[in-house]
Symmetry: C2
Subunit: 375 residues, 2 copies
Amino acid sequence: MTQRPPAEIGMPLDEVDTPALVIDLDAFERNLERLADRVRDTGVRLRPHAKTHKCPVIALLQIARGAVGVCVQKVGEAEAMVYGGVKDVLVTNEIVGRPKLRRLMALAHVAQVSVCVDDPLQIADLDTAAAEAGVKRLPVLVEINMGGNRCGVEPGAPALELARRIGDSRYLAFGGLQAYHGSAQHLRGWNERRAAIAGAAQKAAETRDLLAANGIACGTITGAGTGTFEFEAGSGVYTELQCGSYIFMDADYGRNLDAGGQPTRAFEPSLFVWATVMSRPAEERAIVDAGLKALAFDSGPPLVWDEPAASYERASDEHGRLGITAATNRLKLGDKVKLVPGHCDPTVNLYDWYVAVRGERVEAIWPIAARGALY
Amino acid sequence: MTQRPPAEIGMPLDEVDTPALVIDLDAFERNLERLADRVRDTGVRLRPHAKTHKCPVIALLQIARGAVGVCVQKVGEAEAMVYGGVKDVLVTNEIVGRPKLRRLMALAHVAQVSVCVDDPLQIADLDTAAAEAGVKRLPVLVEINMGGNRCGVEPGAPALELARRIGDSRYLAFGGLQAYHGSAQHLRGWNERRAAIAGAAQKAAETRDLLAANGIACGTITGAGTGTFEFEAGSGVYTELQCGSYIFMDADYGRNLDAGGQPTRAFEPSLFVWATVMSRPAEERAIVDAGLKALAFDSGPPLVWDEPAASYERASDEHGRLGITAATNRLKLGDKVKLVPGHCDPTVNLYDWYVAVRGERVEAIWPIAARGALY
């Protein structure tokens, strides 16, 4: 159930209740500008992934800086975006089941909606649902497996087969290829990521060329994430970029290395979990009120920001134990700390509100409209 | 934001949209009865932990079977319980910060509310807040560290010091000791758990006796979880049990061994994430629509129920990859499967609704009122 916001507009950050999900607006806006700047003259379209933020307010800020629309993974996310004012949404995922397909088609009447497939049955079901809803020429992309072994048919002939079926259907239109290489995003070395995307781009290009040789034009080839976008943008193959995490960064992306072998500074952390020291039972430990229900731990623990003496050692459901390695004037009972999440996307999904701060003052409170939009 | 329920009353389970959080009511009710039966004649009170379910509907079912009230960790959980009809709530946690203390005192006017401390400053702040709110004699328990090194003062003299301060305050009353041994719950061997709780009970008893020798009566000694409750119940020291997970069980608790060295059958899995096979790109893998935003992974991946050929191998934000080891008639595109969460508490916190099924029919849809109640 939606909880009350932990803050009010105008409040100093110190008074914001905890745990809260805080955006540092200055850093966030710099991240928005940086990616927009880097994409602007490449001839490639930017369609950021809204699965990261789940918030139409942020989607519209991205679009205001040149994004052509957003990506989503779930129909519920598409609903939040379209009803929040976004006019062009790509569902970068396979959608299965009649209730979801009906909802998807309802959106296609009020916005540009496209979707991915990797199976003939999905195409048949989409065609039926489009027919029932009176939707004509819904763009459908074929997802190809770039080596992550998740969804997607193999590049080449299997993709051609699906593209033909889409073209042969009555109410769908072939929209292109999804060639997202998810497992390349967190390869730590710059050269490793570059090589992985070079391989992905080659597979996508060969598939594109096979389609062309069979008379099927491939309008869009979409992929890329925050870890690799520069390679897709420069590939001459990809036409759209799906970066999501760049707006917030997180501890895990922060461990990627740049071309010089240094931790990447392409973007900066702008998302924090604001937490309180709720127990200080021993010199060497402080307990904060943010644990497994306030932070995602799949990519490691959060970083304690601005406090080199402390590290987040262990989480339980509602507690986090900070290990303290030196005398510090902070981290007394009641003190508040910023934690940089290990992984931003599933952390965002735990909150109903962003508390957006400018400096030390709450400037806005944004609803995370698609929080919990699982279906 | 609260999402629409994925089901309607009377619907067959097969039609419930996914991912959904499903309770098998028959198994759930058997779990409720089993713990009630085992506690009934022990002379020990049962106060189940509502951090597991976050749902006043379930709290009232527990109370109808003899529980004296519930435990919670957060003020927001206490609000959900009290406003949902629970008349006695113990906050098994330290509460820090004026906004939370004000909310806690508001509840103390309409229900029996008690809370834990491990620092003199918390006592002073509670006393001030109680005075401001006109609350008299709020019961306050001293939390003692049972070896988990999270919150809690050390047993013995430090606990006596805090108990005295509570007794000396104007608006608080000493309520007893919290002696929860969290790190004992998942020790796999029965004898290991028994030994750990024997040690905890001894520390609690020595502290109780020290308090008594100083004229302070210890009305309540509270602790225990699903992994160890039989030992606390039989200790002659503990007076209240805090078990939470027993209603649902989860894959992690299912790995605990009983006295005979077999995986415990004290309770049975009653909570499932209902998921759809959304992609079936290769013989050896099926992709389901439940990943890091639909399941907690801190205690390992979910078990695939009723399908020995499949195991949940890898999660990404919105996908789960099932490895398929043999030919199976199930797990075709669109098939639905039950997943037993690795850890129930943080999984529940991802959902707004329980879909409660009797056999294959949806009997009730219960709001998870304290979902996201972080503060």
